[in-house]
Amino acid sequence: MLPGSLAGTVYVYDLVDFPPGIGIGFRADGLGMFFALVSSTLWVVTTIYAIGYMKGKHARVRFFGFFALCVSTTVGLAFAENLLTLFLFYELLTICTYPLVIHDETPEALKAGRKYLVYTLSGGALILLGVVLVQHLAGTLTLSMPGVLSLAAGRPMLGATFLVLVAGFGVKAAIMPLHGWLPTAMVAPTPVSALLHAVAVVKAGVFGLLRVIYNIFGVDLLAVLGYTSWLALFASFTIVAGSLLALAQSNLKLRLAYSTVSQLSYIVLAASLLTPLAALAAIAHIANQAFAKITMFFVAGAIERTTGRTHIHELAGIGHVMPWTMGAFTVAALSFIGMPLFAGFITKWFLSLGALQAGAWWFVLLMVASSLLNAAYWLPILYLAWFREPRGLPGGVHEAGALLLVPTLISAAYVLLLGMTSRIPGMPFSLAQAAVRFVTGM
């Protein structure tokens, strides 16, 4: 379906009309294809990794079953033709990931699972409210147009709709102050954290937000209403605060979690700027962040499995014993800092240009400040890993097994590929461009 999507063809399939007039339908447009491609590619990689990681752990059938379900719901969500379908898969995703979060079945994991459910189900309820409101105001829920609502619906109603939808999707997109569940859910096994926090769950929230902004409200209407400047403010706060919190973490996975919180808001910020170049940044960052972050999670998991270490200060000299693994980590870290030729640079570049297009130069400063913060929390890890002598590592510890290492290297290679070859048709970037052409009418 890829060539078709690039050319702007849209595949539509109506499954059932289940409440009268509102069907469950699928439709593969640029944005959907983009998200589906990213998630399914990463799913393959993560599954290989999970096979290696879960070796010898309990309840593996349950684990892999729900793992696969997660991805099919994510792809369903990506291809949703209308808001209701999107909502259904969004809720399904919550339910499918719960058994994965609590996989260890420790009291801590169960508690985290509860918190996760409370947050996401409340978010879901808000979305349902929003879906009803949209149906009432617009008479349709379709996601096939650049905006279905119009100013005729009245400002108070539109405001309420925007608020509930953004707050609802904002839970999974971890916009502060709705991010509480994300760091807690880190008790899950690492492949789950990787999939949850880099791809499926958080990106589902972000994807929902993009759909709300581009396909429900539409860029033109939002430009008139001006709600997005508030959203941009929240996103900016999240970017900075998330980074500062990440800086304060000493557990590697928690640092990754807060970094995710911060990085997701890049996408939200970019989307709320409403300019074509920023939209490009928003969509491209879905992939850029996903590949880089999943690489880091893979590395964190590989280190945990081979050496049992989870804290940053314990990583001294780890680069000497696990050079390939830490090499992958280095690539991902440099991408987050926004080094040219790495994927993160593309986001930074287009987001900044998009902000200038919107006449908001202070967001450019924010971008720069954020990449400095990223440097502040990734570079010390690189320093520890490469420039210190390994201490207290049991003898015979060396590189992680092939099942853990190969997926890590593949996703790291993707980070470089995304940074350098975004011009090649068929790469995610060109899909992102196709999506942007559609939503902004370029």
Partner: protein
């Protein structure tokens, strides 16, 4: 036709060859130390020859350009060889070759040298990329890559001081890099994707505030690398901490990269007329003049030899910024020549400082008494290079001072000439004092007792070569193909008469 194809590939090739070397450094370890050095040396020499082969074309004014990748729409990696780039690249490549030979003898075999050689070769590739960058984005890409990836070279010794210096370095460079990124984004927003053009790519009609912001972002960003006071903080700490083979490059060409960036920005992004119209140049003149004098005074007060040389670099490189800020043709040519001349002189000084430290344990100026008796060749090279920095004819340093001085008068700034002279006098004070100590003081009781003869021949070769190059650049300065001719060619384009 065949010839033309090869020449067109050459810019890409000279950037790629060292990168290949960097990638090979680790696997080549299996073939043994000698083979590795030979292979890397061959790659480095090939690169240098390749760069030198580009010089005649650049001199003739042929623009050789290659578009590498469009790594995003409207953003392309674009290499272009022009006179200024060729001059800088030739300097970089030659000094790297000397430094590689020197490193081979200088580095201790402690298992870290693989990392050193890998990043050494990589940084040469990135730096040649900077020299041949055809647009601002490409410059940014190569500049950032090499700025950050030399970190392993800075902290090579892994002593606490080196680590501290490395941290300081990375913080300065990241902040500077962010400023440059800001500037590049603003430029891109204002002018779109356009290659460097003599005369500038920005539209003079744009909002003045925006132009000013862009200018200061770029100049301050590159100013960090160019060690323009008050952004120089990393230089005096990093130079002594890094291994001498790399300090030579730091001082010789890395600091100059900042100056090179400023030159590109002033002449090929803003253009002479717009830069003059913005009215920012007098400020830059002031800052640079203070840097020249203040750094020289601080150098005179410093006892640690490598730190003294580092301060000297700050002072000498501020000449370049000073010259650029006057926006006049001859003085700019002087600046370009100075970059190249200074590189070899300061490189030679650091090579000597490294040998003094490793062979005789001399790290401070006050310990240099009688060093000339122990290490005659090293001190002879040191003396030549010191005289060159001071500007004694017929050494290359004289040529750059002369062209700068004539240019300054021509531009009508006699006061600035005083700064130039003051810098030279202070240089005489802080560089000739160690020379004098080494020749005319008897070795004191405080001097280190380790009596080892002169360094081995293989390490003296790069020293002597650097000294010979300096003499050659002084004696034959007017020969076509040497820095002066390239600089004049570049300047003619900037000022619209080429």
């Amino acid at each position: 036709m065949q010839q033309a194809t090869l020449m067109n590939l050459l810019p890409t090739l000279v950037v790629a060859l060292p990168l290949l070397g960097g990638a090979l450094a680790l696997p080549l370890r299996r073939l043994g130390e000698r083979t590795r050095i030979l292979v890397l040396g061959a790659l480095c020499a090939a690169t240098t020859l390749g760069v030198l082969a580009l010089v005649p074309g650049a001199l003739a004014g042929e623009a050789r350009a290659v578009s590498l990748v469009h790594f995003a729409p409207q953003v392309e990696l674009y290499l272009r060889v022009d006179a200024m780039g060729a001059l800088f690249a030739a300097t970089v490549a030659t000094l790297f070759l000397l430094a590689l030979v020197y490193s081979a003898g200088y580095l201790r075999r402690d298992g870290r040298e693989t990392r050193y050689f890998a990043f050494f070769m990589l940084s040469q590739g990135w730096m040649l990329g900077v020299a041949f960058s055809g647009n601002l984005v490409t410059l940014l890409v190569f500049y950032e890559l090499f700025s950050i990836l030399v970190y392993p070279l800075v902290v090579h010794e892994e002593t606490p001081e080196a680590i501290r210096a490395g941290t300081k370095y990375i913080v300065y460079i990241l902040v500077g890099g962010s400023l440059i990124l800001l500037g590049v984004i603003f430029t891109f927003y204002l002018a779109g994707e356009r290659p460097f053009t003599p005369g500038g790519i920005l539209d003079p009609g744009t909002d003045r505030t925006l132009l000013l912001v862009t200018f200061w972002c770029l100049v301050a960003g590159f100013g960090v690398k160019a060690a323009l006071m008050p952004l120089h903080g990393w230089v005096p700490d990093v130079h002594p901490a890094a291994p001498a083979s790399f300090s030579a490059l730091l001082s010789g060409v890395m600091v100059a990269t900042g100056c090179f960036g400023i030159l590109r920005v002033v002449f090929e992004v803003f253009g002479v007329e717009l830069a003059a119209a913005l009215g920012v140049m007098p400020v830059l003149t002031g800052v640079a003049a203070v840097s020249v004098l203040l750094a020289a005074i601080l150098a005179a007060g410093e006892d640690d030899l490598k730190r003294r040389l580092a301060w000297s670099t700050i002072s000498q490189m501020a000449y370049v910024v000073l010259a650029v800020s006057l926006l006049a043709p001859h003085v700019t040519a002087g600046a370009l020549v100075h970059i190249s001349n200074h590189a070899f002189l300061k490189g030679a000084l650091f090579f000597c400082a490294g040998l003094l430290a490793s062979q005789a344990g001399i790290r401070r100026v006050s310990e240099m008494a009688g060093a000339a008796r122990r290490m005659p060749v090293t001190m002879a090279v040191f003396t030549i290079a010191a005289l060159g920095i001071v500007g004694v004819p017929p050494l290359s340093g004289f040529i750059s001072k002369w062209v700068l001085g004539v240019g300054i008068l021509e531009a009508g700034h006699p006061l600035v000439l005083l700064v130039l002279l003051g810098g030279a006098l202070l240089a005489a004070l802080y560089l000739l004092q160690p020379v004098w100590m080494a020749y005319f003081h008897a070795p004191g009781a405080t001097g280190p007792e380790r009596r080892r003869p002169e360094a081995p021949l293989s390490m003296l070769i790069p020293l002597v070569a650097a000294a010979l190059i300096s003499i050659l650049l002084g004696l034959a300065a007017a020969m076509p193909g040497l820095p002066l001719s390239l600089a004049e060619r570049a300047v003619a384009a900037f000022f619209g008469s080429g």
